[in-house]
């Protein structure tokens, strides 16, 4: 298997040249002739009735070309997640439910004029009592945000075995409660859309940053009151997404409405302040874990009560919670498990997906908790995890089937690489070492249509062009697709061209970019398309040369006959194909739908991915005993990626993931004032990690378990690589200064307070 030419090599991204020269056009770089600038008027109140809106003065301001409120729209309620609730309007109707909710919008000749026009719109509100805390929102008599009982938007329940019986059998039972705030994607480029409505054709073209162009098309059409065939989505390069661009956003809907009304192209781009004040992220959660375990370390029962603060609208609140049912016993074998989830409305920001959905906070809580269980048992944490670790072939209580699983190998690899045995308990004062593990989908399934489609075409010059709906937002999926096609056709990377922008009018269906699904789904589709090309080409050559198809091989830019000296260049082979009367371009088609099983929305039971990725991390920290400040010194990672297709990009993904995980462990979180207004509205106040906080060293191990579904056995790892970091840091902090912090982020202040409480603060 090691005779790959491309797979497994450190291949720099072919699109990188345009990035380093500044020539690449991102969504934020789209300016159209005659374009207007759109701005959004937002609610200053967390919960209020809209009594009256007067836009007349704004409309009279010179340079203003369109002003809209809900009255100018079809008032269609929408949902952004397949597992969602239709509870949200693009522009508030009658009532606002969070600070920042769009109420009106303006399109004008420049940004200054649009902003001045917003000031001229008069909105009369009648304030209503608001609720921000999940527990308070569930109390009888709490302010009613939507027409549901106790503000509970969804209740998710799963039980396998009998946890109560399990707890009775256990030698040790432990309970812990964890709290984590909303953490946002905070990409360096803000949300942006440019809509261009053509009155003649009735078609709206939207340049958008969406992670799901083909899903946005019908959703946006329905919100705007157009038929789906009248919406064309073009997605240029995107400045990072991490799930935050998967849903429907105000920039898309408002740009659409304003362009339809003004008959001009309209650009809506969040300012940074606006982005931080209304940006959705992974929801704040409260997690209760209760674990029962035998003296020998065998787990017998695990119960999780999961409170998701959905915010003012469900958005991905249900889907993000369902994900955690799936991961409850994904890494460890537990015979009795129970999950009780509440997705609760409050007057805070709605949530969205964010790299790992809520598995981030969940893994942080669960493996901080498990570290405490192991400690109470007197077991070394790696031994405890290995005793319960899942293996290939396992089926979890939620019917997740593990076609490959390297969790044990990951644990062993980081223990070995970090020198755990020589460090644990033996480090200098205030230094500590911590371990955590994680599992996650490595190729999320989908629910509609053909899932991934790739077309490979070969022209008369032998030039290979790939068409895919994948597009780019940073993690180099198009590089991967080109690598697969080059490998299959025996060509070089520079022989393969791929579309940069995704255009729903010209590029075939692709379900989108989320859930670490690219490697498996698009990788397999690319493989199928390239093999389709190869099959047609080989058939023609076999006929011409009078040899069997099986004797042919594509290698080193040649088609060779095995065991013979005969060889053709790829271009000669294409000419033979054409000379035999076949038409050019030669087109290969590839589709891939992972075998999977949809979630039952009430219980979260279902196998939503073909493949599952696993990882383990060991982190070494130093804690300042006076200030409580944590310095992450070294990180050792091991990830079960199935097969390492491009170690250069795997490392990049992992390093970025670790620092992102470090951010949510130590610094990041959306904070509000007492009236529900976001106060973390700049990078520094939000706690965005800079280079100064990055670890000095991150060392990687790739565990190759060769998955039965992934291309060449590979699995997607972009989410799982960041999941263990926060718990590993939290466990290392405990090892260093013996305080357990159960509320994220572990700010210096929180650690200092805990040290003070313990009486060990050095002042």
């Amino acid at each position: 298997m090691s005779d790959f030419q491309i797979i497994g090599k450190r291949i720099p991204r072919p699109d990188g040249r345009a990035m380093v020269t500044g020539r690449l056009k991102y969504i934020n770089d789209i300016y159209l002739p005659g374009m207007l600038y759109g701005k959004i008027l937002r609610s200053p109140h967390a919960h209020a009735k809209i009594v009256k809106i007067d836009t007349s003065e704004a409309e009279r301001l010179p340079g203003v070309k369109a002003v809209i409120t809900a009255e100018d729209t079809p008032k269609v309620k929408f949902q952004t997640s397949y597992y969602g609730v239709k509870d949200e309007y693009a522009l508030a109707v009658d009532k606002v439910r969070y600070v920042g909710e769009p109420v009106a919008a303006v399109a004008a000749v420049d940004e200054d004029t649009a902003e001045r026009a917003l000031d001229l719109i008069k909105v009369e509100y009648q304030e209503l009592p608001a609720v921000f805390d999940v527990m308070e929102a569930m109390q009888p008599g709490a302010p009613k945000i939507h027409e549901v009982k106790n503000n509970v938007a969804a209740h998710i329940f799963h039980e396998a075995g009998d946890v109560e019986k399990g707890f009775k059998q256990a030698d040790l039972v432990r309970e812990d409660r964890f709290k984590a705030p909303m953490v946002v994607n905070a990409t360096i480029g803000t949300r942006c859309a440019v809509a261009d409505f053509c009155p003649e054709s009735g078609e709206l073209t939207i340049y958008s940053d969406t992670q799901k162009p083909y899903n946005l098309k019908p959703s946006l059409a329905s919100i705007l009151g157009l038929s789906p065939d009248k919406v064309r989505v073009i997605r240029p390069y995107v400045p990072g997404a991490f799930g935050g661009r998967a849903g429907i956003s105000d920039v898309q809907t408002i740009a659409g409405f304003l362009s339809i009304k003004s008959r001009r192209p309209v650009r809506v781009e969040h300012t940074r302040d606006e982005e931080f004040s209304v940006q959705r992220g992974r929801q704040a959660v409260i997690l209760d874990f209760k674990t029962g375990v035998k003296k020998n370390g065998k787990l017998v029962a695990l119960f999780c009560r999961h409170y998701t603060n959905a915010g003012a609208y469900v958005d991905f609140g249900i889907q993000n919670t369902l994900q955690n049912v799936n991961v409850l016993d994904l890494c460890l074998r537990v015979p009795n498990v129970k999950f009780e989830g509440y997705v609760v409305y409050t007057n805070t920001l709605p949530g969205c997906p964010f790299r790992g959905l809520l598995n981030n906070s969940f893994t942080w809580g669960l493996y901080s908790h498990m570290d405490m269980v192991a400690e109470e048992l007197g077991m070394d944490f790696p031994d405890f995890l290995l005793k319960n670790a899942r293996k290939k072939g396992d089926v979890t209580t939620t019917r997740v089937k593990l076609g490959s699983c390297g969790i044990a190998e990951c644990i062993k690899a980081v223990v070995e690489a970090s020198g755990w045995k020589t460090k644990k308990g033996k480090l200098p004062p205030n230094h500590g070492i911590g371990l955590a593990i994680a599992g996650h989908t490595a190729g999320f399934h989908s629910f509609i249509g053909e899932l991934s489609t790739v077309l490979v075409s070969v022209d008369e010059y032998g030039k290979v062009t790939v068409l895919s709906g994948r597009g780019e937002y940073g993690n180099a999926p198009t590089t991967l697709i080109c690598m697969v096609v080059a490998e299959e056709l025996g060509l070089r990377m520079e022989d393969i061209f791929i579309n940069d922008a995704v255009d729903t009018k010209t590029v075939p269906w692709e379900d989108g970019n989320y859930g670490s699904r690219g490697t498996v789904s698009q990788g397999r589709a690319a493989m199928a398309a390239a093999r389709d090309v190869k099959k047609q080409l080989f058939r023609a050559i076999a006929k011409k040369l009078g040899v069997s198809v099986n004797s042919l091989e594509a290698k080193n830019s040649r088609i060779i006959v095995k065991g013979k000296k005969t060889e053709l260049t790829f271009q000669e082979a294409v000419k033979i194909y054409a000379d035999l009367g076949n038409k050019l371009p030669l087109i290969g088609r590839g589709h891939y739908s992972p075998p999977s099983e949809d979630w039952d929305i009430k219980s979260g039971v279902g196998n939503v991915a073909a493949a599952w990725g696993f990882g383990a991390q060991v982190v070494e920290v130093e804690v300042d005993p006076e200030t409580g400040e944590v310095k992450v010194l070294e990180v050792f990672t091991a990830d079960d990626c199935g097969r390492a297709i491009n170690p250069l990009h795997l490392e990049g993904s992992s390093e970025g993931g670790v620092v992102m995980g470090l951010g949510s462990a130590l610094f990041e979180g959306v904070r509000y004032d007492e009236r529900g207004r976001v106060i973390t509205r700049t990078f520094p106040t939000y706690g965005f990690p800079t280079v100064m906080q990055a670890p000095k060293k991150i060392e990687h191990r790739w565990i190759e378990t060769i998955d039965p579904y992934g291309p060449y056995g590979a699995k997607g790892i972009t989410e799982v690589v960041m999941l263990p970091t926060a718990a590993a840091i939290t466990n290392a902090v405990y090892d260093a200064v013996k305080v357990r912090i159960k509320e994220a982020p572990l700010t210096a202040e929180r650690i200092r307070n805990a040290l003070k409480e313990k009486g060990s603060l050095k002042e």
Partner: protein, 160 residues
């Protein structure tokens, strides 16, 4: 108030009409079409809009266009010579120091200002130089590697 000013960007003079409150960032992007300089925060927190003015790395969102008159402005578009990439650009590519690429131009400009002044920086000096440049994708490790590798290759090649 409106002004007609002359800006020298990447060695070329441009005559542009600007408002008093217009930042250099806005003018570069919307009037000169130099969108390689990215907009991330408009308040000097993220470094995505870093350009070099008279040899110093500066966030162009904090500079009024009218104040940039008479100065030497270099943007990412002015870095490579013809098809030949600058050693920093090459190093960022080869070391996988780019993911979404949005912070990349600003990072490279900050690094260039550093290497022009200090051709052999320590790791800490590299970190200080890019401490005002935020990246959400890479975790910074490969960016530091790339800048140090570029310094080495420039020392060997004697190329500025």
């Amino acid at each position: 108030m409106d002004h007609i000013i002359k800006l020298k960007v990447n060695g070329v003079f441009h005559e542009v009409w600007v408002k008093s409150n217009e930042t250099l960032l806005e003018v570069l992007r919307t009037k000169l079409g130099l969108t390689g300089t990215k907009r991330g925060c408009d308040v000097g927190d993220c470094g995505a809009c870093t350009v070099i003015i008279n040899g110093k790395a500066v966030p162009s969102c904090l500079v009024l266009a009218v104040d940039a008159v008479g100065k030497e402005i270099v943007t990412i578009e002015g870095l490579s010579e013809g098809d030949e990439l600058h050693p920093l650009q090459k190093a960022f590519l080869e070391h996988g120091a780019i993911q979404c690429g949005y912070c990349t131009p600003g990072m490279i400009m900050a690094a260039k200002a550093l290497l022009d002044e200090n051709p052999d920086p320590t790791e800490d000096e590299v970190k200080m130089a890019i401490s005002g440049n935020l990246c959400r994708c890479t975790g910074y490790i490969k960016i530091i590697e790339a800048i140090r590798a570029a310094a080495k290759s420039m020392a060997k090649g004697g190329k500025k």
